[in-house]
């Protein structure tokens, strides 16, 4: 393998270690436009905390994190959540209380 091949392989590997993230909430998007590039081995919650600060969200303890309709674990990385490429994270309060059939 030539030096150029090794550089190309390394570049491809590095690119594979990144994901493009956008966070969707009803209080706005983070980032405001487009996507932000983050390490694929970074926990999802890191960007969620940044989004909460940016969007002035103070009470997100009950919120659920979904990607393409699938609930993911924010305490795991993008890789551990089997996410790659462009990742649009939907974030909002889970289904609330009520719902008794006698009501």
């Amino acid at each position: 393998m030539t030096v150029a091949d090794k550089e190309h392989e390394q570049k491809g590997h590095d690119q594979g270690d990144k994901v493009e993230v956008a966070i969707v909430t009803t209080s706005g998007f983070y980032p405001e436009t487009g996507f932000i590039q983050v390490p694929a081995n970074q926990k999802v919650e890191v960007e969620l905390k940044k989004a909460a600060k940016s969007l002035n969200l103070t009470d997100t303890s009950n919120w659920v994190v979904k990607v393409a309709g699938r609930t993911i674990d924010p305490n795991h990385s993008y890789t551990e959540n089997q996410l790659s490429g462009e990742v649009e994270i939907d974030w909002g309060p889970r289904e609330g209380g009520g719902g008794q059939r006698d009501a």
Partner: protein, 145 residues
């Protein structure tokens, strides 16, 4: 709450309910003008549901939520497999199926829930207009197909 203050808060909270958000979530926006929020949830393989929130006096009181079909007619009967949040029995005020969830006027004025007041919820991020819509969207998603 004074109507102008109510409208100002409404406008502040709905400004992020954008076409980009609607596209991302599969929502159809029918109307966003005070005091009405009219959204429809759609996804492949599910019967759509349309919710019209009347936000008069927001947020001193929660929105009154009508359950509609895609054409805008009141649902007299719910589609099958709906989450418990969507109560198929007749609400004593409207006589129709209703949203039985914290954040709806029909819930908080129901005799079974008078001990669960809106007052303690209305400033939470979970119970903004977008938060209530999101909770209902999740409830609809969690229903069976």
């Amino acid at each position: 709450m004074h109507e102008l203050l109510s409208q100002r808060l409404f406008d502040e909270q709905v400004k992020h309910l954008t076409p980009r958000l609607a596209q991302s979530r599969g929502w159809v926006v029918h109307q966003v003008s005070y005091p009405i929020l009219d959204f429809e949830f759609q996804t492949e393989g599910r019967t759509p549901i349309r919710l019209r929130l009347n936000c008069q006096n927001w947020n001193t009181q929660p929105p009154s939520i009508d359950l509609l079909d895609s054409a805008g007619a009141y649902l007299q009967k719910l589609p099958g497999g709906m989450s418990l949040v969507f109560n198929p029995s007749a609400h004593e005020r409207t006589g129709r199926p209703f949203v039985c969830m914290r954040g709806s006027l029909e819930y908080h004025t129901h005799p079974s829930h008078l001990s669960d007041p809106w007052e303690g919820l209305r400033t939470s991020d979970n119970y903004t207009l977008g938060g209530i819509l999101t909770q209902l969207w999740h409830a609809w998603q969690n229903g069976q197909t």
